[in-house]
C-alpha cells in the first residue's frame, strides 16, 4: 500500500543520490555520499547530545521543584551550547605520573564506541547509515567497546578513586551486557531476523512488545533495566558515585576529554532508548491498524523520524524518572539483581519464547487478519 508521505526525507535522499550518480563517477559518488552521511551523523550526534543535556536539566529541575537553566535564551535553551563552547575551550590539564598513551586514548574508545553504535540506528524511513544483516550483533558488539575506555581511564589515571570506579564499572557492564544481549535475542527469536530494518518492517501492524505479549514485555523491561545500568546512570551510577568516588573513572580528566565521557554517557542513554524503540516499539513505524486506511494515512502524515524520536524520547523520559527517584545501589545488590534475578529470568524467557514462536502463540499467529504482516 502506498500512502502519501509529504514530510518524509526519502525523496530528498534519493534525489541527492541520483544527482551524485548522474554527475560523478561511481567511486567519487560513493565517497561524497559517505562523507555527507558521516557529516550528517556527527552533526546529529552533537545536536542530540546538546538537546538531551538541556532536556535532562529541565526535567530534573521539574522533578526536584527547581527551575533549571533559564537565563540564556528563552527558557535557557542555549545553555547547552554555551556549556559546549566552555568545554571546548577549557584547558586540558596534564596529570603527572599517568600512563600517557592509555590515559589519552581512553576517551576515544568511549566516544568511538558510542558513535559506531549510533550509526546503525534507523532514525526513520530510509534514514539508516549502516544496515547489516546482523545489525543487532553489530550494535551489541560496538557498544561493548566503550567499557575498554572506562577500564583504561581508571587504570591509567594513577588514582585510587578512579581505579575503584573502573573496577566497579567493569563488573557492572559485563554483567548487564549479558542481560541486554539475551533480551535482544529474545526478540530476534520472535521476529526471525537480526537486520534492524527488517525488524522494524516486521512490526508494521504489531509491535514486538504486543506481538510477543507477556514474554516480549518481560524482555523489554529487562532490556530497559540492563540498558539503564550499562549507561552508568542512577540508581546504577556506582562507577561515578560522586558521593563516594568523587567522579570515579573520569576524576582526572578535564576539558574536552571529560567532555567525551560526558557526551558518550548522554548519547548512550539515547542509543539504549533508540535500540529499545527499534526492537520493541516498532522503530520509526507509525501506529497502523490493518484495514483502517484513512487512519493509517493520517498516521503516515506524521513523518517517521518524528515517530522515532517521540518513542525514544518517551523511553529517555522513563530513564530520567528512574534516575531521579531511586537512591544509588550498592555493588553487591547490583550484582545480585543481575546474576540472581535478571539473568535466570532471561534465560527461561528466551527458551519459552522459542517454544511460543514454534507453537504459533504470537498475536500475529492468533489474529492474522488484525496483526499479520
Amino acid at each position: 500500500m502506498n500512502y502519501n508521505q509529504p514530510l518524509e526525507l526519502t525523496g530528498l535522499v534519493s534525489n541527492l543520490h541520483e544527482f551524485f550518480r548522474d554527475n560523478l563517477s561511481p567511486f567519487w559518488a560513493t565517497l561524497v555520499e559517505g562523507a555527507l552521511v558521516l557529516l550528517a551523523l556527527l552533526t546529529l550526534y552533537a545536536v542530540i547530545a546538546l538537546a538531551l543535556i538541556y532536556i535532562e536539566r529541565k526535567i530534573t529541575a521539574f522533578f526536584q521543584s527547581r527551575l533549571g537553566p533559564n537565563r540564556l535564551g528563552k527558557y535557557g535553551v542555549i545553555q547547552s551550547i554555551a556549556d559546549m563552547i566552555k568545554i571546548l575551550i577549557k584547558e586540558i590539564i596534564h596529570i603527572k605520573e599517568v600512563d600517557k598513551f592509555l590515559f589519552y586514548a581512553a576517551p576515544f574508545f568511549v566516544i568511538v564506541s558510542s558513535m559506531l553504535t549510533f550509526g546503525a540506528i534507523p532514525f526513520g524511513q530510509g534514514l539508516q547509515a549502516v544496515d547489516f544483516n546482523i545489525g543487532i550483533v553489530y550494535v551489541l558488539a560496538t557498544s561493548s567497546i566503550g567499557i575498554i575506555g572506562v577500564l583504561l581511564a581508571g587504570w591509567s589515571s594513577n588514582n585510587k578513586y578512579s581505579m575503584l570506579g573502573a573496577m566497579r564499572s567493569g563488573a557492572q557492564f559485563i554483567s548487564y551486557e549479558l542481560s541486554a544481549g539475551f533480551a535482544l535475542m529474545t526478540v530476534v527469536v520472535l521476529s526471525g531476523t537480526m537486520q534492524l530494518s527488517e525488524i522494524v518492517e516486521s512490526q508494521r501492524y504489531a509491535w514486538n512488545i504486543f506481538n510477543g505479549h507477556i514474554l516480549a514485555l518481560i524482555a523489554f523491561i529487562i532490556y530497559l533495566i540492563s540498558g539503564h545500568a550499562e549507561t552508568n546512570r542512577g540508581p546504577f551510577d556506582l562507577p561515578e558515585a560522586e558521593g563516594e568516588l568523587t567522579a570515579g573513572y573520569h576524576t582526572e580528566y578535564s576539558g574536552l576529554q571529560f567532555g567525551f565521557f560526558y557526551l558518550a554517557e548522554y548519547l548512550n542513554m539515547f542509543i539504549i532508548a533508540s535500540i529499545a524503540t527499534t526492537v520493541f516499539l516498532g522503530g520509526w513505524m507509525p501506529i497502523q491498524i490493518k484495514g483502517w486506511d484513512a487512519f493509517n494515512q493520517i498516521m503516515w502524515y506524521i513523518p517517521s523520524y518524528v515517530w522515532f524520536f517521540g518513542k525514544a524520547g518517551f523511553l529517555v523520559f522513563l530513564s530520567l524518572w528512574v534516575r531521579w527517584t531511586f537512591p544509588r545501589m550498592r555493588i553487591d545488590l547490583l550484582l545480585n539483581l543481575e546474576w540472581k534475578y535478571l539473568l535466570p529470568i532471561n534465560l527461561i524467557n528466551i527458551i519459552v519464547m522459542v517454544v511460543m514462536v514454534l507453537m504459533g502463540w504470537t498475536l500475529s499467529d492468533w489474529f492474522p487478519a488484525l496483526f499479520g504482516n
Binding site: G243, E244, F326, M329
Partner: protein, 540 residues
C-alpha cells in the same frame, strides 16, 4: 556515693558544688574511675566530657562522668599534676572509648600525655605545632608556627607511653596501618564528609578494614579565643560550632551564664527560646535527612529536605534577620521581640511539615533500595553507643534513653509533653527513622507552646558588663546531634578562665571507625550520613 569514693580513695577531697566534685591525686584517678565505672547500682559509664585545664601551678583534667541508666546523676573528678615540663596522667581509654580522641585533644592543646593510651598523636592540631595553645603561658607569636605551603606527608605512626608490669614507663610507637594496606583518603576535600573531615581508610577490595580519623582542618581555637572575650561576645562563637543547631548551642551558654550570674529569664523569653530551639531542631534534622539521602544517591530527596528547611529559615529570617547563624539568644532573654505574624507563620508551618513528612515516607522511607542500604548497616550496639558517648538521635537509635530534655530538663521542657523516640536496632535505618520521628515530636512541642506565649518582657535587664562569680558551671542542652554542654571556669572576671564545649559530633565521629569496619565503602558514606556530624562542632 561519697562512701564509695572514700572507700577507694580515702584522702579524696569531696565538694558539693553544682555537681559532686572529687579531687584526687593522679595515681588514684584510675582506680576511682574504675570503681565508679563498675559500680553495680549505678555504673558511671558515660563520659560526658574530658576537660583539660591549666590552673597555672598545675596542669590537669576534669572528668565529667554520668550514668547511662540515669543521666541526671553526674560527678566531676579533678586530677592534676605539677610537672609542667613532662605532664603525665593515667588514661581511662580502657573503660571509655570516648576518651581516645578526647585525650588526644588534651595532649594537643595542653601537652598532657596519657599513660596507657595506645595512640598519643595530636588531635585537631598538626603534629609539628609548636606550643600548647590552651596553656596560659602559650606564646602565640606567628613566627613560631609559620604558614607554609609545603606538602606534608601524613605519617601513620603513633607514639605511646605505657606502664609495664613492674611500673616502669615505656615509650614506643605503633603503626596505624599494616604495610601493604590499600589506603585511600576520604577527605579532607570530599563531597560526602559533610565538611573538611579526613578519614584515612584502609580497604580490602571494597570492604573497609580500618579507619583513622584526622580532624582539625578548620580548627579555629574557639575555646582559646573565648578566654579573651566577654560573655556576650562569646555568644556569637557558639552559633559557629554546630551551625545547624545554632539556637540550641547558644541557649546552653546563655543558661550557663544566667545560672552563674543569677539572672532571672522572663517567661516570654523562655517560650520564644524553646520554640526557636525546636524549629532549629527541625531544620537540623531536615538537613540531616536530606544529606543522608544524598549520601545514598537520592539527589531529589536532598532538594526536598532543603525545600522544607527553607520555610523554617524564613521564620528565622523574619524573627531576627539571621537564617543559619541566628544570633538570637542573649544573656537574659532574646535579642528582640518576635514579629507580629510569628505565631501565624509557625502555625502554618506545622501542618505543612506534617504533610511533607508523609511525602518523605512515601517517596523514600520504604524504597527497597533504601531499605537494603540502611537496614543492618552500620550497627552501633547499646554498649558502644554509651562507651563512645554517642548521644542524640544516633544514641537513641541504639536503645539508649539519652535525651537531655527528659533527664536533665531545662527551660520549659518539664512543662511540655513529648515522647522520647527510642529504637533498639542500632542500624542506619533506626537513626534515619529517629530523626523523622523527632521532627514530629518537635512539631508537637511547638504546638503546645505557640499559642500560649505570655505577654511581658522578652529580655531581663542585665548589667552592661557581666561578671561571673568564682566557680565552675555546667549546662547541657539537647542540640540537634545530641548532648551539647558548656563548662565555664570563672575567676570572677568578665571573661572566662576556661570554657569548654562538649560537642556531640565529636563523639559521633569517634564511633565511625567501629561501626564502619567490615562494611562496604559505599555504605561508609551512608553511615556517615546517618551519624550526622558537623565538622565545625568537632574542630572547635
Amino acid at each position: 556515693m561519697k562512701d564509695l569514693i572514700l572507700n577507694i580513695v580515702p584522702d579524696a577531697v569531696i565538694e558539693e558544688k553544682e555537681k559532686l566534685t572529687v579531687t584526687v591525686e593522679p595515681k588514684q584517678l584510675h582506680p576511682l574511675v574504675k570503681a565508679l565505672y563498675s559500680n553495680k547500682e549505678l555504673p558511671f559509664d558515660y563520659l560526658i566530657s574530658l576537660i583539660g585545664m591549666d590552673w597555672g601551678d598545675k596542669l590537669g583534667v576534669i572528668y565529667l562522668l554520668s550514668s547511662s541508666k540515669d543521666m541526671s546523676r553526674e560527678i566531676a573528678i579533678i586530677t592534676a599534676t605539677e610537672d609542667r615540663e613532662n605532664p603525665l596522667l593515667y588514661s581511662i581509654t580502657d573503660m571509655y572509648e570516648a576518651a581516645h580522641l578526647n585525650e588526644r585533644e588534651v595532649y594537643a592543646l595542653l601537652g598532657i600525655r596519657f599513660i596507657n593510651n595506645p595512640d598519643m598523636r595530636k588531635f585537631l592540631l598538626a603534629e609539628d605545632w609548636n606550643g600548647y595553645p590552651l596553656r596560659k603561658d602559650y606564646n602565640d607569636d606567628p613566627k613560631l608556627n609559620p604558614i607554609t605551603i609545603a606538602n606534608k606527608e601524613i605519617v601513620d605512626i603513633a607514639p605511646f607511653i605505657k606502664e609495664d608490669e613492674k611500673g616502669n614507663l615505656v615509650e614506643g610507637t605503633t603503626d596505624i596501618f599494616e604495610e601493604d594496606d590499600y589506603v585511600i583518603n576520604i577527605g579532607p576535600q570530599h563531597p560526602s564528609t559533610h565538611g573538611v573531615m579526613h578519614f584515612r581508610t584502609a580497604l580490602n577490595g571494597e570492604v573497609i578494614k580500618k579507619i583513622d580519623v584526622h580532624s582539625g582542618y578548620i580548627h579555629r581555637g574557639i575555646e582559646k579565643m573565648a578566654e579573651s572575650m566577654t560573655y556576650p561576645q562569646i555568644l556569637h562563637l557558639t552559633d559557629r560550632l554546630d551551625y545547624l543547631s545554632a539556637s540550641n548551642n547558644r541557649h546552653a551558654l546563655c543558661m550557663c551564664v544566667e545560672k552563674a550570674a543569677g539572672i532571672e529569664v522572663p517567661e516570654r523569653a523562655q517560650y520564644i527560646r524553646v520554640i526557636m530551639d525546636e524549629l532549629n531542631r527541625i531544620s537540623s534534622h531536615l538537613l540531616a535527612w536530606a544529606a543522608h539521602c544524598n549520601d545514598l544517591g537520592g539527589t531529589t530527596a536532598f532538594i526536598y529536605g532543603v525545600r522544607e528547611r527553607e520555610h523554617v529559615l524564613d521564620i528565622f529570617d523574619k524573627t531576627c534577620g539571621g537564617r543559619l547563624i541566628v544570633n538570637y539568644n542573649v544573656i537574659g532573654g532574646v535579642m528582640n521581640d518576635i514579629y507580629p505574624d510569628f505565631q501565624k507563620d509557625v502555625k502554618a508551618f506545622i501542618p505543612y511539615m506534617r504533610e511533607k513528612l508523609v511525602e518523605y515516607d512515601n517517596f523514600f522511607t520504604h524504597n527497597p533500595i533504601t531499605l537494603n542500604r540502611m537496614i543492618n548497616v552500620g550497627n552501633l550496639s547499646y554498649e558502644d553507643a554509651v562507651s563512645y558517648a554517642v548521644t542524640g538521635p544516633a544514641g537513641r537509635g541504639s536503645g539508649w534513653s539519652c535525651d537531655v530534655r527528659i533527664h536533665k530538663p531545662y527551660s520549659l521542657y518539664d512543662k511540655v509533653k513529648f515522647k522520647e523516640i527510642i529504637r533498639t536496632e542500632g542500624d542506619s535505618y533506626a537513626r534515619y527513622l529517629n530523626r523523622l520521628d523527632e521532627i514530629e515530636q518537635a512539631l508537637q512541642i511547638i504546638e503546645q507552646l505557640v499559642d500560649n506565649i505570655p505577654e511581658g518582657e522578652f529580655k531581663a535587664k542585665t548589667k552592661p558588663i557581666i561578671r561571673l562569680p568564682e566557680g565552675q558551671f555546667y549546662q547541657s542542652v539537647e542540640a540537634g546531634k545530641g548532648e551539647f554542654a558548656v563548662f565555664i571556669e570563672s575567676k570572677g572576671d568578665k571573661s572566662p578562665y576556661r570554657i569548654k564545649f562538649r560537642s556531640p559530633s565529636f563523639a559521633a565521629v569517634s564511633a565511625m571507625p567501629i561501626i564502619s569496619e567490615g562494611e562496604l565503602l559505599t555504605d561508609f558514606i551512608g553511615i556517615g550520613g546517618s551519624m550526622d556530624y558537623v565538622i565545625p562542632d568537632i574542630d572547635r
